[in-house]
Amino acid sequence: MKANQETRRDFLKNSATTLTGALLSPLTEPSSSASGSPQVSAPPSGGLDLPALTLAAAAERIRKKQLSPVELTQAILDRIAKLDSKVGAFITVTADQALAAARAAEQEIQQGRYRGPLHGIPVGVKDTHYTQGIRTTAATRVLHDFVPTFDATVVRKLKEAGAILIGKTNLPEFSFGGYTPGTNNPWDLSRNSAGSSGGSAAALAAGMLLGATGGDTSGSIRNPASTCGVVGHKPTFGLVSRYGIVPISWTLDHIGPLAKTVEDAPILLRVLAGYDPNDAYSARVTVPDYPRLLKRPVRGLRLGIPPAEILKDFYPDTQESFRQATKVLEGLGCRVQEVKLPPTLELASAAHTIIRICDAAAYHRQFLRQFLRTKAAQYGPGNPALPAVSQVRTTVEAGSLLTAAQYHKAQQFRRVYIREMLELYASFDAFLSPAMPAPADVQATPRITFRSEYNLNGFPAVSVPCGFSTSPAGLPIGLQISARPFQDANVLALAYAYESATDWHKRKPAL
């Protein structure tokens, strides 16, 4: 027991984000081997399946000048050309710009100016992210011709880190909903990828990206990550800037990474995170070295799980995968204990909905006002192949009719809910739950789904693959790990320990 406690203490030490008003640490790390190494000439990557590489594996090869960013980018573009007609992950593919950026990255690396582990890595961003000079549609006809004049903060950070922007990924209209029209699940193309960051998750699962970003207002990073068998991390609210992102809700939207493996996610988060004065809710925090904090022993950690009476309404295969996942973590020395949930948790999704639609109505007012009726008439999916019916318009029109008092009622509830959740989370180090009630396009309706509840409280949560369904067969299932605010490093370390003890992340869809 004493040994366990010491390990737990070590784990928790220095792992949390540091609150500060001081200058932030640099976003990119100097390379320790940037100079004096052999140049990329004839890349020894012949025979290597480049799109199948993880971000970490590709970065290591690029750092050692064993892999050309141009070759990698071309391999990804070839993969997209081959598969995206079946998967439908992208709204826009920026092939020419990507190859130009890859050539520039390669030249910089050859000249000894390696920027860090994203240098030369092909990534995609959700089509809500402003991209300077590149159309940003949010998958709606309302914005079909919108070309931003600046990059979203996260896009700028990715570019500064040397990442190669491959394209803009698909989503439902304005990110509303957990279903991404037009994006098929790589594990079963007859099923959906879930959403709303469905294009990012499907592209990763299909080997069409090495890293991606998404937005999560009600579970929209974690849902498709779970459904497509990849990793999705919703960071603590305020940790990653929302500036330059087409919003749903200013106080519920979270931007975060999606990745093939847990090892890849903190590489992205390290670049994405950090204070941004342009985001009204950005937190003044020093960004920890997430990749360095990843590989820590988890023995002795206390993990809470939901009561059986809540879990029983999840899909049977999901319940079973979740049970097995908790056993794996117990096998790693964690102590798993069922916890009593506060009554506010069951009402959290109601408060979340009121806040979400009121915020959304305020944003959409610019399109709905009388003198812009022509704009209002344009609501509908950006993809002309889809029916021009817009649930978004109905949602925001009805949301426009709620009063400020009703909005503040939900915000008042939120204050009490967050206090209760902080008290609850003081009794354990992390909380486990299924990431989704059921696999892709399978129905299950538990009273608490553990999705929008984490947007209302802003706590960090990651979805990591934890199994596959048996009926229907072969659909990915995700485990969600959450913790107190700014303990993102801890949820990722736990997820990594779990991933390292299992092989779910090594399975690939047959495409």
Binding site: T20, A350, I354, E397, L401, L402, K409, Y425, G458, F486
Partner: protein, 71 residues
């Protein structure tokens, strides 16, 4: 009474024009929101609880470390 006329009047007062053919679907959506608010009203809240757009960054109890003091 919450009906189509009510929706139309409320929308016009808010500067939004909802076409006649859309009133019914917006009415139904609005009623679902009222039901959610009724659920929230069913839980008595601490009288001192002030609305908060988001949580304040806690320095205690979350594991977050306070900023270092300048020497």
């Amino acid at each position: 009474m919450v009906d189509r006329t009510f929706i139309q009047t409320l929308a016009e007062a808010n500067g939004i024009a909802i076409p006649e053919e859309r009133l019914e679907v917006v009415l139904k959506q609005y009623q679902t929101y009222l039901e959610l608010l009724n659920r929230l009203d069913s839980l008595p809240l601490d009288m001192g609880a002030e609305p908060s757009a988001t949580f304040a960054l806690p320095t205690e109890g979350t594991g977050a470390v306070p900023p270092r003091q300048k020497r």
